[in-house]
Symmetry: C2
Subunit: 176 residues, 2 copies
Amino acid sequence: MRLFAEHGFHATGIDRIAREAAISKRTLYQYFRTKDELILAALRHKDGLFRNEFVKSVEAKATEPRQRLLAIFDVANDWFDSQDFFGCMFINAVGEHSSADSPVRRACVEYKRLVRNYILELAEAARLERPEALADELALLFEGATVTAQVSGDASSAAVAQRVATFLVERHTASS
Amino acid sequence: MRLFAEHGFHATGIDRIAREAAISKRTLYQYFRTKDELILAALRHKDGLFRNEFVKSVEAKATEPRQRLLAIFDVANDWFDSQDFFGCMFINAVGEHSSADSPVRRACVEYKRLVRNYILELAEAARLERPEALADELALLFEGATVTAQVSGDASSAAVAQRVATFLVERHTASS
DNA sequence: CACAAAGTAAACCGATCTGTTTACTTGGCG
DNA sequence: CGCCAAGTAAACAGATCGGTTTACTTTGTG
């Protein structure tokens, strides 16, 4: 996962993966029949990490659903600042796999759906108006902040996104 | 540029580029000494197209700077819907070139600066409050919409971004 | 201890990679 | 016409690609 994230998928050879994983190629091919299967497994593993790490980080930052919606961008800020941040692995994967029906693409679409649904759950728990629309908006902000941080190498985009997110949450608050 | 956009940079071989460009490899290497130089030239050319096509499209959609800020997302919608949309070439390039000091990375950072500055110019021309902050926000929305459209294959993210942009422009309007 | 499962290093396969070279063809211009 | 720049196709070079195979070593367990 580190090699794929840092150097991309096509640029990372099997030999290097085996060498840095300190296993022989034979053993590697015993667990993953092709490189594509290995890529898919890495993406699925990353998908699982989202549940186990990202969501838990958000939950640790705030307890109220409304605050958790904003805490997403605090967690994002920490992520962007971390040493091994090379952007969203799924976005990078899509950039190297254009065919819409490839398994890699499907895994990426699935991941993005997962993120958006998590935001939707928070919006519904916070009893905000038009939660679906808000989830679309916040998910879009999250993507934008991620890409901007990746290209610029500056984590401040998380703060920009959070600023906008605060406005949006206010706006989706029941006026009654 | 089409091959790089569709299949990525590492996955596109020199032989295929020469074949599809209907020139010999020898001639290709006469104009570009290495593949990296060719990639850089493609990115610089795309950079120039932004000025010549994107900006002109925005200017054709609206005349008032305030309306032009929102027209950005109309142009984005058309772009996402076009047949040969494979996401932002610069974002994809960064995904395959992680080292922060590579010429490719510098070209991508420069391009993003260009986009953000164009938005800033429009915000200043519209005499909106805190134009720098607004430019950061709208640029982030633009990135988010681009990536979301690329992954999902759905152009509707442009409308989501425009919805948020409308709200932001209102907020940055002088209350006097 | 004996044996089978699972590991290792390294050679090997055909294909493809970036980049060079060779030999030949074309086309514009004095 | 004659010449040279610029093009072509294709072979070639050395490296690396994804993937397989061979021969040997380790390791856990009955």
